[in-house]
């Protein structure tokens, strides 16, 4: 700018302070503080929303679902449901098989797999739990029950693993053994009500699910909104400082 005289010098700290305490700049300061307060509160609100959404999504993912909600019309279920806790209403049957070579807390043993018949007559294999080698699970009373477990895909260690003896929890192989049809995959029993053992003996030990479910998606959008509010507040401080500096230079 050719019209501007080149006589301006860097204002001293005292000049800036004297400018800052004029009524005009005190008003600007109040406005700035108000803006910062609002930005911080709004950013905090978006931050809390981020946490709330995360908590709600995690709760929804952990929420047990009725098996009927998980199953498609043709009785299959999608891979996204692996690890989902499902509720089954129906009854255990006498179809049972022991799957060998299963350890629990360092001890060798077997998994007891029993056919659970749902109220709609479809069946699914349920891993009732673990027993040490040599022990057999007590018989089961056939009466209506509600059980809760985690949905797993069929085990498929290698081709032909089940040719001579069933050693994997594979719905197809087990269905052949029982001469019935099964929903694919299996359920790892976690909760059972009522306890259905006929004899006064120990039930198989309920084992934790094999599959581990990944975390829910992070609500990045709200997280970014939170950050943006705080950046705006910092930006306002910069603008205030720059204006004050320019004004003090006059």
């Amino acid at each position: 700018m050719s019209s501007a005289p080149e006589t301006r010098v860097r204002p001293s700290a005292q000049d800036i302070w004297r400018t800052a305490i004029t009524p005009r700049w005190l008003f600007a300061l109040v406005t700035l503080i108000l803006f910062i307060a609002i930005s911080v509160v709004l950013g905090r609100w978006q931050w809390d929303r981020t946490q709330d959404i995360l908590a709600a999504e995690r709760a929804a993912a952990a929420e047990p679902a009725q098996i009927s909600e998980v199953l498609n019309d043709d009785g299959t279920w999608s891979n996204s449901e692996i690890g989902r806790t499902v509720i089954l209403d129906g009854e255990f049957t006498s179809d049972e098989i022991l799957i060998p070579n299963r350890e629990y807390q360092g001890e060798p043993g077997t998994w007891t797999v029993t056919r659970f018949q749902l109220d709609n007559q479809a069946s699914i294999a349920v891993v009732r739990g673990w027993l040490p080698n040599g022990e057999i699970s007590p018989p089961i009373r056939r009466e209506p029950a509600r059980i809760e477990g985690v949905l797993h895909p069929s085990e498929a260690f290698y081709e032909g693993a089940n040719e001579t003896q069933i050693i994997t929890v594979d719905a197809t192989a087990i269905a052949d053994e029982w001469n019935t049809s099964l929903i694919d995959g299996y359920v790892m029993l976690q909760e059972q009500d009522p306890i259905l053992l006929a004899a006064d003996a120990a039930a198989p030990v309920i084992v934790p699910p094999t599959v581990q479910v990944g975390d829910v998606p992070f609500p990045l959008q709200n997280f970014f909104y939170a950050i943006q509010w705080w950046v705006f507040a910092a930006f306002a401080i910069f603008v205030y400082g720059r204006w004050l500096y320019l004004d003090a230079r006059k």
């Binding site: 700018m1 050719s2 600007a28 990045l220 959008q221 970014f224 909104y225 943006q228 950046v231 705006f232 930006f235 603008v239 720059r242 204006w243 320019l246």
Partner: protein, 116 residues
């Protein structure tokens, strides 16, 4: 003042980019909530959500370009605040860009464009 054209150009780019995104989002919002049931969050497309987040960041760059230009041409505080807020009002950033160029021209801050 040879840096002024650069500041003007940066502001123009940010005014148009932010303005176009905000205008598109405004139309999308009206159509979405008016006819496509966006109140039901399941229906809202991801692109729509992300564009709003993107606008937030674009607006930040708009602010930087705007404040830089306002400082250079020594615009008054009230006018500067109006320019800054224009980035949040649909279609207003185009007006702000026009007004800035007009202001610079009428105050003879810009050297005459070279004759081509």
């Amino acid at each position: 003042m040879d840096k002024l054209p650069g500041a003007l150009l940066r502001f123009r780019i940010m005014a148009y980019v932010t303005g176009v995104v905000l205008a598109a989002l405004t139309i999308w919002l009206v159509v979405g909530y008016g006819f496509l049931d966006y109140a039901n969050t399941e229906v809202k497309p991801d692109l729509y959500r992300w564009l709003w987040t993107a606008h937030g960041w674009l607006y930040l760059f708009y602010l930087i370009a705007a404040v830089d230009l306002c400082f250079r041409i020594k615009l008054s505080v009230i006018r500067t605040l109006a320019v800054l807020l224009a980035g949040t009002v649909p279609f207003m950033s185009f007006v702000a860009d026009y007004q800035m160029h007009k202001y610079v021209r009428t105050h003879h801050l810009e050297p005459a464009p070279p004759v081509s």
